[in-house]
Symmetry: C2
Subunit: 333 residues, 2 copies
DNA sequence: ATGAAAGCGCTAACAT
DNA sequence: ATGTTAGCGCTTTCAT
């Protein structure tokens, strides 16, 4: 560890001005071949690299795309991988920033991160599951899976939640289930409503009346699911199948069922949503609706690069895919 | 999208100097209570956040830890999650940077990234699988799984690769395999040599001669594994089992086997290394050697924070654990 | 208590 | 072809 080598050190060692060094490094003309070579030699010898920070202060562009997340959790990092690989071969580097790690409150991390990095460090941003949508931002951004389903305004990439809910429920119906319950997601998020709507539509399409007592809250979280799960299984005419709004809820549903002596999928079929890594590690492996996270990341890159090229915002919806595994089966009857 | 709001905008709107705004924001004294409140109100109204870049140019500390990677692949992002969660509750934010996405050459990304970000943007760095060890660096750093096994000098966190390779191979031998191939990792990395050495040692311990034709290159990447995988299966006396140096190679090996009409594990057993999330999502689920990535990330944080606190470098080795799943079985005959 | 001014490392006008 | 200078947004002496 030692002091940072600056352009001044190079200039001094080469016996020229910093401006000349800058020109030499950036391939600007106005530098004689001899000087150019000499400077390059000194740069190599000293191991000099220009400071991204200083450069970006001065320049307009940094050729860096920021992926802004609240926290590096599985969902976010999978998206990050998609973004990163989509940026391969372009001139852009990727910088991922979790702005709320130290900040106590998660509220508004997207605006805060965007303000801190935008306009100086990054040319554009990809926001992962923002809960609020920034309006005035210093750089173009694309929101992935935003809380509110926007069909205009900011550029967004989200999954077809309704179709996913429909497919999950349809799968249970096809297996022969008729008493099909739903564990809701976070009702403050559009995705939860869309998934529930898919569930309702599938039932209606099959001529099965929607029974409100079969719909309970789960809030996308295990702890919030527990009570509803018990309530469902205590029903006189208990459901034989459950579509849970996400995998965490589905796994909690299965845990509660087990606690009550029910086997999955023999006594109860359960479908989740997301296809988190844990879904396959789980016993039984979870039947679920997969979000194509890598593809969504790539799509976000495409939109963002288009925006940087001056094209207008776009809203993209990606297909959700039903993955049938071991947590669903024909009802015992 | 709009122009960035700067401290000047705030100063002007509040009718004070930028110096006063700066003091107010950073809680320095020399600001009257009335002015303080007024400035805070304007900051809130304008939605101002100081630029991380400008701040870090001027200040010594940024309270940001950098996780520097060549690329955001599964291994790196899992480590990132560990680092991120270990930094929870500290004053530090996490910034992850993939410095070689745009750069054509992977060589020296660690030095380049460290030079570009260190000393200005980040207070310390965690280098994920560096191929070279920077010597003169502007900030303290910890290397995770470095290419060269260093027992002194730079701070490092690595896994017991040799033991892992040994355990993987021993497992295949115990199942009854004798023709056991190895798909090498990146031969410029110490980890690859260590894993291979574990493989060789296990064979020798069982009295099985090492057959060089059964050792092919995979470079830790799917694309680089394809050719070797085909070559192995085309052998007149093809192997019945393969120890691949990482999960990506193992999964590619399985894909190629399937392409050639071979079933895993019936016709071919495959063991990977790493236990990436995809390992359980894979069909069949991958038998592999788990690196405790989250724990390694946390350990790196511990070392780095200690170094920032003035304590000396430390080298840590973490245990590797064989996880037996569905991609290995007794040989067919 | 407040503001003017210097300077962090760099690039881009603008001299020379 | 080369150097001088201004300034990106911010913090920090140092005056006032």
């Amino acid at each position: 560890m030692s002091r940072r080598i600056t352009i001044h050190d190079v200039a001094q060692a080469a016996g020229v001005s910093v401006a000349t060094v800058s020109k030499a490094i950036n391939g600007r003309d106005g530098v004689s071949p001899a000087t150019l070579e000499h400077v390059q030699e000194v740069v190599a010898r000293l191991g000099y690299e220009s400071s991204l920070v200083a450069t970006s202060m001065r320049r307009r562009r940094t050729d860096v795309i920021g992926v802004l997340v609240a926290e590096f959790e599985p969902f976010a990092v999978q998206l990050l991988q998609g973004v990163s690989s989509a940026l391969h071969g372009t001139r852009f580097d990727v910088l991922a920033y979790a702005g709320s790690v130290s900040a106590g409150e998660h509220l508004g991390w997207e605006r805060r991160s965007l303000s801190r990095l935008g306009g100086t460090l990054i040319d554009g941003a990809i926001l992962v599951t923002p809960t609020t949508m920034p309006t005035e931002t210093p750089v173009p951004f694309v929101a992935i899976d935003p809380s509110a389903g926007t069909d205009e305004g900011p550029a967004t990439v989200s999954v077809r939640n309704e179709e996913g809910g429909f497919a999950a429920t349809e799968h249970l119906i096809a297996l022969g289930h008729r008493r099909i319950a739903h564990v809701r997601g976070r009702t403050d998020l559009a995705s939860a409503h869309q998934r529930e709507h898919g569930y309702r539509r599938a039932l209606e399409a099959a001529g099965i009346p929607v029974d409100p007592t079969l719909i309970v809250d789960g809030g996308y979280r295990a702890a919030a699911t527990t009570a509803g799960a018990h309530a469902l299984l205590e029903l006189p005419d208990a459901p034989t199948a459950v579509f849970a709004a996400n995998d965490l809820s589905a796994m909690e549903m299965i845990r509660v069922a087990g606690e009550r002596g029910l086997r999955v999928p023999e006594d109860l079929s359960v479908v989740g949503f997301d296809d988190v890594p844990e879904a396959t590690a789980h016993t039984p492996q979870l039947t679920t609706v997969r979000q194509p996270l890598a593809a969504m990341g790539a799509e976000a890159v495409r939109l963002l690069l288009a925006m940087l090229g001056g094209e207008p915002n776009e809203q993209v919806r990606m297909p959700a895919e039903l993955i049938v595994r071991g947590s669903t089966a024909t009802p015992a009857r």
